[in-house]
């Protein structure tokens, strides 16, 4: 079923992002890594659990006491949702995504143009930092680091965790030096739109790997439209996807920006 009309998805997405941001900040127990609902139900994010497994990697008599029924169910919920909806977490739920989007809008309003002018035809940039495979390097760093130092290394740097933990005890904002990662990640928007999510975030990297199995919700050029291949969608897309060339759409965060902002209005969303 194609959706091609200009929906006001952007406003719904802002509402969802801000709602989840407030939810993670104050209303719920736990960070995104393990989000405890009520007494025993949890939603578990796979990177945190992978790190916990890797902390035991060099331990000769390893044990995994954290693998409980609620954690397995939580992981199944998260991975199942990622297979069904792709990386929708990044654009609709993730609190750091909200911060990054807000910073990008602020830079836009202040008329500060991102530093790198994007060349859509050279999508796979080979620069050292501006390489989308850096996500996987950070992922490997998180896992090897956890194995080497025997504590979940990424949790220390994770800006998502920094936001969720920031409001300790629900009321006052606990300010520590590690909370600096949040404005730092926001300021990366000076380089390029959604720089953190595009090139560095290991959670996004892991979700990209999982969402390769996602068969639903993919943007396509309307088949009766003249094939433009103008690359405008790659400039609009927060992940830099050129719809005409992309095959798997594993990176797609289902943000609907391409549908709303395509200058020719020929992008439509195929739900199946």
């Amino acid at each position: 079923m194609p959706i091609s009309k200009k929906l006001e998805v952007r406003k719904i997405r802002w509402a969802s992002q801000i709602g989840f941001f407030l939810l993670f900040l104050s209303l719920t127990v736990g960070a995104v890594c393990v989000w405890v609902l009520g007494k025993s139900v949890a939603i578990a994010e796979p990177l945190g659990m992978l790190q916990l497994i890797f902390t035991q990697a060099l331990n000769p008599n390893f044990s995994f006491p954290f693998i409980t029924t609620s954690i397995i169910i939580g992981l199944a919920i998260f991975i199942g949702a990622t297979i069904l909806l792709g990386r929708a977490f990044c654009a609709w739920v993730c609190p750091i995504g909200t911060v990054v989007d807000g910073a990008d809008v602020a830079f836009q309003k202040l008329k500060i143009k991102p530093y790198f002018s994007h060349h859509p035809k050279e999508d796979d940039s080979t620069g050292l930092v501006r390489n989308r495979y850096n996500k996987y390097a950070v992922l490997v760093f998180a896992l090897t680091g956890s194995a080497a130092f025997k504590f979940p290394v990424w949790c220390v740097f994770c800006p998502i965790g920094a936001i969720c933990r920031g409001a300790a005890s629900g009321v006052e904002l606990a300010v520590g030096a590690e909370l600096l990662t949040v404005p730092a990640v926001g300021c990366m928007g000076l380089g390029e739109k959604r720089f953190w999510c595009r090139y560095l975030c290991p959670v996004g990297g892991l979700l990209t790997i999982i969402s390769r199995f996602n068969p639903f919700i993919k943007p396509r050029i309307r088949h009766d439209a003249a094939h433009q291949n103008c690359g405008a969608c790659a400039t609009i897309c927060p992940e830099g996807i050129n719809i005409c060339n992309e095959k798997t759409f594993a990176r797609c965060t289902k943000c609907y920006d391409c549908i709303n902002k395509c200058p020719f209005g020929i992008v439509e969303m195929h739900l199946t």
Binding site: V36, L52, P65, V140, P152, C164, S169, A174
Partner: protein, 213 residues
């Protein structure tokens, strides 16, 4: 992969730059390294704590400890038993406040342990505990701040407050010929209630405080 190696090497340098300090952990931590391996830094225990005595460590406690829970000494205390709570303490009613603890303990002979932090912990970093295993740290008397050790004048609210009778008046100050409190390390669980009611803490640095053991 080279970049990863460089980052891991750099991290070991950062680990040296921020040496990790020991913290008073919530109950259920038997081996500190086991706890650090399985704690996911999700602040669930901090949110659920009824007296809100836990806090999350920041970078100044060492890079390994960032986001891990600790007992916020000396101003917060662990209630140990479910349903117990001190009234707000003021300088004039310290002794009366401290007696609340012993009265409550007498009324509830075998009270149920609180351990909400252990129950909520999703990764079993805090392991289930019995009362005999309940241990967070050990109270340490700061003789340079304790009024009894300094001046010999104190109403000893810490002795009334201790639910486990771990503090006794057996210390002898030979200089002033006065007595001072002494902590029995075999009985103390490190709940920090003695520090909460400490007379010295009401107007300055605390004379007794739970410290990691």
């Amino acid at each position: 992969m080279m970049a990863t190696f460089a980052v891991v090497t750099g991290l070991s340098g950062v680990l040296q730059a921020f040496p990790s300090s020991r913290l008073v952990r919530p109950p259920g931590v038997f081996v500190e390294s086991d706890f650090l391996e399985s704690c996911i830094r999700c602040r669930a225990c901090v949110n659920v704590c009824p007296p809100q005595c836990l806090d999350l460590a920041h970078l100044n406690a060492g890079i390994q400890n960032v986001g891990t829970p600790f007992l916020a000494t000396p101003n917060k205390y662990c209630i140990v038993f479910y349903g117990f709570k001190y009234p707000p303490v003021s300088e004039s009613s310290v002794k009366a406040t401290a007696k609340v603890s012993s009265e409550w303990k007498a009324a509830h002979e075998n009270g149920e342990l609180c351990v909400q932090c252990v129950k909520v912990c999703p990764t079993h970093a805090l392991k289930p505990v019995e009362l005999s295993q309940f241990h967070m740290g050990t109270a340490v008397v700061h003789k340079e701040h304790c009024l009894a050790w300094l001046y010999g004048t104190c109403s000893f609210p810490c002795i009334d407050a201790c639910m486990f009778n771990a503090i006794s008046l057996t210390g002898f100050n030979a200089r002033d010929l006065t007595v001072g409190p002494v902590v029995d390390v075999t009985k103390c669980v490190g709940c920090n209630q003695c520090s909460y009611v400490c007379l010295a803490r009401q107007s300055g640095p605390t004379g007794i405080e739970a410290e990691p053991s």
